[in-house]
C-alpha cells in the first residue's frame, strides 16, 4: 500500500477525498489474490468515522440556520433605534428646520419689503408721469387755444378741458363779433363827429383802428398772454379777445 492510510501520522488530519482516490492496496499474495484485508478494514473504518463526523456537523449547521432564520422572521428585522438616538436626530432635525424656517422668513420679509418699495416707486413714477402729461396737455392747450389760468389747473380730465376750449373758442368768437360791431359803430360815430369838425383829418381805412384798440384792450385785461403774442402778430386781435375771455373762464366752468 502506497498511500496516506498506511501512515499513522496522517490519521488525525481527517480523510480527504484525495486520500481515498489515492489509496492503492497491495496484493496479498499469489496464493490469495485481493487486497490485504487489514488495510481495507482500516480505511473503511476511517471513512465511516469521517462520514459520521460530517453528518453531525451538517445537522448542527442546519439547526443554527433554523434558529437564525427564526430570529430574523420573529423579532423585528433589526434592532429598533434607541430612544437616545431618536432624541438626538429629532433635535438635529428640528434645529435644521428652524434655520431653514428663519431663512425663509427673512427672505419673505426682504422680498416683501422690496416689492412694496418697488410698487411704491412705480406708483410715484406713474403719478409723476401723469402729472407731466397733464402739464404738457395744459401747455399744449394754452398754445393752441384758450386755457384756464392758474386757479383751476388740476382735477380736470382732457375731455373736460377740450369741451371748455371749444366753449371758450365759441365765446371768444361771439365776443369778438360783438366787440367789433361795437367798435365799428363807435368809429363810425367818431368819424361822423370828427368829419363834421375836420373832414381833412379823417383816416382812410377803418381796419387799423380795430387792431390798435384790440391791443389796448389786451394790455389792460391780460398780462399772461402778452409774452406769447408779438405786437405785429396777425393773430394779435384774436389774442386780445382770448385775454378778455380768459378773464371770464371760471364762469363757464363752475
Amino acid at each position: 500500500m502506497t498511500s496516506a492510510p498506511s501512515r499513522p501520522g496522517n490519521a488525525d488530519r481527517g480523510l480527504t477525498p484525495a486520500d481515498l482516490q489515492q489509496v492503492r492496496f497491495t496484493r496479498a499474495s499469489m496464493l490469495r489474490p485481493g487486497y490485504v484485508d487489514t488495510e481495507v478494514d482500516r480505511v473503511m473504518h476511517r471513512a465511516a468515522e469521517e462520514l459520521g463526523r460530517h453528518m453531525a456537523e451538517k445537522a448542527q449547521l442546519r439547526e443554527q440556520v433554523r434558529t437564525l432564520q427564526a430570529q430574523l422572521n420573529g423579532a423585528p428585522a433589526h434592532v429598533p433605534p434607541s430612544e437616545q438616538a431618536v432624541r438626538i436626530l429629532a433635535t438635529a432635525q428640528q434645529t435644521a428646520d428652524n434655520y431653514v424656517a428663519e431663512a425663509e422668513a427673512f427672505s419673505r420679509q426682504v422680498t416683501g419689503e422690496a416689492r412694496t418699495q418697488y410698487e411704491e416707486a412705480v406708483r410715484l413714477a406713474r403719478e409723476n408721469a401723469g402729472a407731466i402729461i397733464q402739464a404738457a396737455q395744459e401747455a399744449a392747450a394754452r398754445l393752441t387755444g384758450p386755457a384756464p389760468d392758474g386757479s383751476d389747473r388740476s382735477g380736470r380730465s382732457v375731455a373736460e378741458l377740450e369741451e371748455q376750449v371749444a366753449y371758450l373758442k365759441a365765446f371768444g368768437q361771439a365776443v369778438r363779433v360783438q366787440l367789433r360791431s361795437y367798435l365799428e359803430a363807435l368809429i363810425d360815430d367818431v368819424e361822423a363827429e370828427w368829419g363834421r369838425a375836420d373832414p381833412a383829418a379823417l383816416p382812410a381805412p377803418a381796419r387799423p383802428h380795430g387792431q390798435r384798440t384790440a391791443v389796448a384792450v389786451e394790455s389792460e385785461r391780460s398780462t399772461t398772454f402778452v409774452g406769447n403774442t408779438t405786437a405785429d402778430d396777425p393773430a394779435g386781435e384774436q389774442a386780445a379777445v382770448e385775454g378778455v375771455t380768459a378773464a371770464g373762464a371760471t364762469r363757464p366752468a363752475s
Binding site: D97, R108, Q109, G130
Partner: protein, 379 residues
Amino acid sequence: MDIPAMRASFAKASAAGDEAPLYFYSHLFLSHPETREMFPVSMAHQRDRFFAALGEVVTRVDDLDALVPILQQLGRDHRKFAVLPAHYPAAGASLLATLEHFDDQWTPELAKSWAEAYDVVATVMIQAAEAAAEQPAWWEADVVGHERRAIDIAVLHIRPRVPYDYLPGQSLSLETDVRPRLWRYYSPANAPRPDGLVELHVKARDGGPVSSALVRSVGVGDVLRLGPPVGHLTLNEDADRDLLLVAGGMGLAPMKAMVDQVARHGPPRRVDLFAGFRTEGQVYDRADLERLAKDNPWLTVTLAVSDDPVSDLAQGAIGDVVLRAGPWSSREVCVAGPEQMVSHTVARLREHGVPPQRMSSEVFAPSRPGPSVDGEVTE
C-alpha cells in the same frame, strides 16, 4: 380593530404636537436610513402634513367607502416620491413605535389594532400604485421657454419627454432640481396640444422656495419632474352651455386652458372671460388674452383691477365687475383664484341666480407641498 381605542391613542400622540411626527420621522430615518432621501431638507411642512393626513385616515377608518378612494389617490401620488412596497412596513413599524412612545397605557391589543389598520391602508395604497404601474411614476419635462412678465411673475413653456395627458383645469405637481423633494402644484394654461407643450404661470411668493426658484433661477434647458394630474375643475364635455370664466390673479391659468379647450375641440359656445388683478402692472398675460379675443369671435375678455385707480381697465372687485356685465343666470360658471375672491364671486353669482350645480370653483392658495386629501390645489 378597536377603533375608539385607536382614536384615543392617536389623540394622545397628536396632543404632543410637533413632537409626535418628529419622533416618527427620526425613528424611521434611523431604522431605515435609505428613506431619508425621499424627503426635503426641511421637514417642518412635511411633519404638519403627515399628522394631518394620518388624522384624516384615523377618523375615517370605519368608513372604508370614503377612505379607499383617498388612499388610492395617495398611493398613486406617492409613486413620484419613489416609494416602494418595501417602504410601507418600515413606516408602519415607526408609526407603532411613535404611538407607543406617546401612550402610557399602550397595550399589545392596541398594537394589534393599529397594525391591522395600517396593513389595510398600506395594502390599498400599494395596490393602487401597482394598478397605475403602466404609466410613469413621474414625467421629465424640458423647460423650452421662460419669460418674466412682471417683477414676480414668469410664464414657462415646458415639453414633457413622453406624452403627458391631462384635462384643462387640472393641476400637476412638479419638482425642480434646484429645490429637491419639494413638490408644488401648478395648473397648465393650455389644453393638451399636438406638440406636447405645456404653458405654466408662476408667481414668486415672498419666501416661497419653489415659486421663487421657478421665476428667478430656472431657465431654458432645465428639467422639471411632473407628477400625475389632479383636480376637479374640469368642463363637462357633453354640455354646450355658454361659459362664464372668472379668474383672480394666477387663477387665470386654468381658465385660459378652458378657453383653449373650446378653441381646439369645441363644442361651439360663447365664452366670457373675466380676469381680475390688483394693479395693471400685474396683468401679466394681456397681449395673449387680447390676441385670443381678437382671433375668436365667440370670446370676450374683460380685465379688471381692484387697487389701481388710475388704470383704464374696469375697476373694482372682479365679482362686482362680472355682475355689472350680467345677466349670467343661464351660464356654466368656473371660478379660480385666491380664497377671498372665489368666495365673494361665488356668493355674488349665487345671489344673481346662477344655480350652484352649474358653478365650479377652485381656490388657488399659496404653495403647499401637495394637495390635501380633499384635493385642494395650490398655485
